[in-house]
Symmetry: C2
Subunit: 380 residues, 2 copies
């Protein structure tokens, strides 16, 4: 359990604001602001001040088993000293119904905007939330540690009704955190094998991978390359495993490099895959941005698409039918999945069980960028 950062509960801006309140009700406002802050003392503060874990504080304050009587007495004393109030007006207001769903994005800003997936998901999520008068509280974290700090803040302050967890990594610290605080509903977008028992909406990647590899195998491709997403992402790992298995089953030689979803990453990985003799006759990309860039550089290198090399993308944004040849893709309704995620989150808010739900399934959308394997393979 990481110690909670000091910055969570108090920040300078509050003081700045009350200090500059110079209108005629200035003094009164300052007082109520200070009262507001007092209400923001959380179990994390109590934990820090009493030197025990926040879960121990939770047990102690909620009069539940799990801590010694000595610890309980100590915690209660510290909590009282700090002015912690379990049913203060602030907490009641905050916890009762914020009508907010929290989402933290931890990808770098420029990378996020290169990825149509996330905007499609958020757009679907937001459109559905709007039907229920819910807002999305959005943070752009600076790395994983910061993401966990934000989540702890939300748990402590009851700033959101539920959380959506995206881009789960293997052994993700968010899973452990949310399991420790079951009072904060959370939906993880990942394979159930990664969620540590949290409710999930899973993408049906395994069956999609099998379909994609079979499709290319049926076109005569015996050497298939792949440019995957970042290796630390859980869904990259799931796809890696599925590709290995599907290729082994069909006797296809499978080579994979991982990149970062950007055109640059796609271009570099494509050049590397095509530099080794014998080269693959088809390449599948983990997103459409890398596929578009990979197709572009392959054509620059003199490969005819799909005569010499078939190109296939994952996900199906507008780009895939704006480039020529149009990209064959494993597509799915990401906006629709955003809607579905919102529905599941609102179920969790209402105390309903979710367990394991499915995203919209993938479908193979065959376009002009794939074709039969070339009879002979030459390097370029």
């Amino acid at each position: 359990m990481m110690p909670i950062s000091d910055r969570l509960i108090y920040n300078k801006r509050v003081f700045t604001r009350s200090a500059r309140a110079s209108d005629k009700d200035g003094i009164e406002r300052k007082e109520t602001v200070m009262a507001g802050q007092k209400n923001k003392v959380t179990i994390f503060d109590v934990a820090k001040a009493s030197g025990v874990s926040s879960s121990a504080v939770s047990y102690a304050l909620n009069n539940k088993p799990g801590v010694s009587e000595a610890t309980r007495a100590k915690v209660l004393k510290v909590a009282k000293g700090l002015g912690w109030r379990p049913n203060g007006a602030a907490q009641a207001l905050a916890r009762a119904n914020t009508s907010r769903i929290g989402v933290v994005l931890a990808q770098e800003a420029r990378l996020l905007s290169a990825e149509p997936y996330m905007m499609e998901l958020l757009a679907g999520l937001g459109a559905e939330l709007e039907q229920h008068d819910y807002s999305m509280l959005l943070r752009f974290a600076i790395g994983r540690d910061n993401e966990v700090v934000i989540l702890k803040d939300w748990i402590a302050t009851g700033n959101v009704d539920a959380l959506l967890l995206v881009n789960l990594e293997m052994d993700d610290p968010r899973v452990a955190l949310l399991n420790e605080y079951p009072e904060m509903p959370a939906l993880a977008l990942c394979d159930p094998s990664l969620s540590g028992g949290l409710p999930v909406m899973r993408s049906l990647d395994m069956q999609a991978v099998t379909k994609a590899v079979s499709y290319l195998h049926d076109l005569g491709h015996e050497r298939i390359g792949r440019v995957g997403g970042p290796e630390s992402f859980g869904h990259s790992y799931i796809r890696d495993a599925a590709f290995s298995d599907a290729a082994a089953e069909l006797g296809v030689r499978y080579r994979c490099l991982h990149a970062d979803y950007t055109p640059k990453g796609g271009i570099e990985a494509t050049k590397r895959l095509l530099s080794v003799n014998p080269r693959p006759t088809a390449i599948i990309y983990d997103n459409d941005v890398m596929a578009m860039a990979g197709m572009g550089i392959a054509r620059e290198m003199g490969f005819d698409i799909p005569g010499d090399l078939s190109i296939m993308a994952w996900d199906d944004s507008f780009m895939c039918t704006a480039v020529f040849p149009h990209l064959t893709v494993m597509g799915r309704d990401i906006v629709g999945s955003g809607h579905r995620a919102a529905q599941l989150l609102l179920k969790l808010v209402d105390g309903e069980q979710v367990g394991v739900a499915d995203e919209y399934p993938y479908e193979l959308r065959e376009r002009a960028s794939t074709g039969p394997a070339p009879a002979s393979v030459e390097q370029r």
Copy 2:
């Protein structure tokens, strides 16, 4: 002034939640929730109940001139009856420092995801806000009316510290609303001519348009086409005017069609522009998605790019260097402008003046999709 919707202040979910609170503190929680609701009576409720405008209520309750004594007395009586409390704990908490900036997006979900601009802007905004412990409260409105309702809700409940207004239209109702409630700081991303005096961050479109037209004119292009964004958007209008003026000044024949930023819109407009004899020898697009699609369909129609036709895009997402030939663009640092918008919003929250600030300027990034005008022009 539109009447405020009933749905704003009370919603069913609160009752659902308190009704299902069956744990041991259930009764207590229900009571605090009800208290919380009472605090949410707003000037809009008072206005509705007393049959006067919300600005009149504001004047009356804040003891300011602008209403008759009879109206003031009536408003005070109604407000008291409804339990309105100007300095209640809830309002103090809400108004003191929400650490939230509100953004309402009113574009259709699938369209939003086709537009890298918005995700880049949000990513920059969010990354900067994160440095200041601020969150983004995001709504996806269903049309303009719904957008105004959401803004009124935020003004009434103090749910955000400040607002960012994007995609301003001509005679935009949001401008009138925010001018009516100066206590809610707002920054409009638009030309100052559209903001009705609100603080703005303007994009430097006029000088960019002049630069783009001059560039093509210098390459010998005498007939320039343009595929603009939706005509109702303020920045489309500003660009339309700038293109007309720049073309007139240089003696260039300028033809413009408007589309909806999607590949489909870009493809259709491109086909139309190329169908009229004599056709343009260069086309400029208001976003990169339409430019990519327009270049694709032009090549499908048999035009060599840039031999027969030069293509130029506005904004410069990753796509522009992932297609071949790479797209010449009028680019700007959108992520950087998102950062700047956040800084301006936080200034407004701190009570500082902003006035008219500039986005990052455009720069011409010359790539392979533009070249000298063809010697002769044939239809295809």
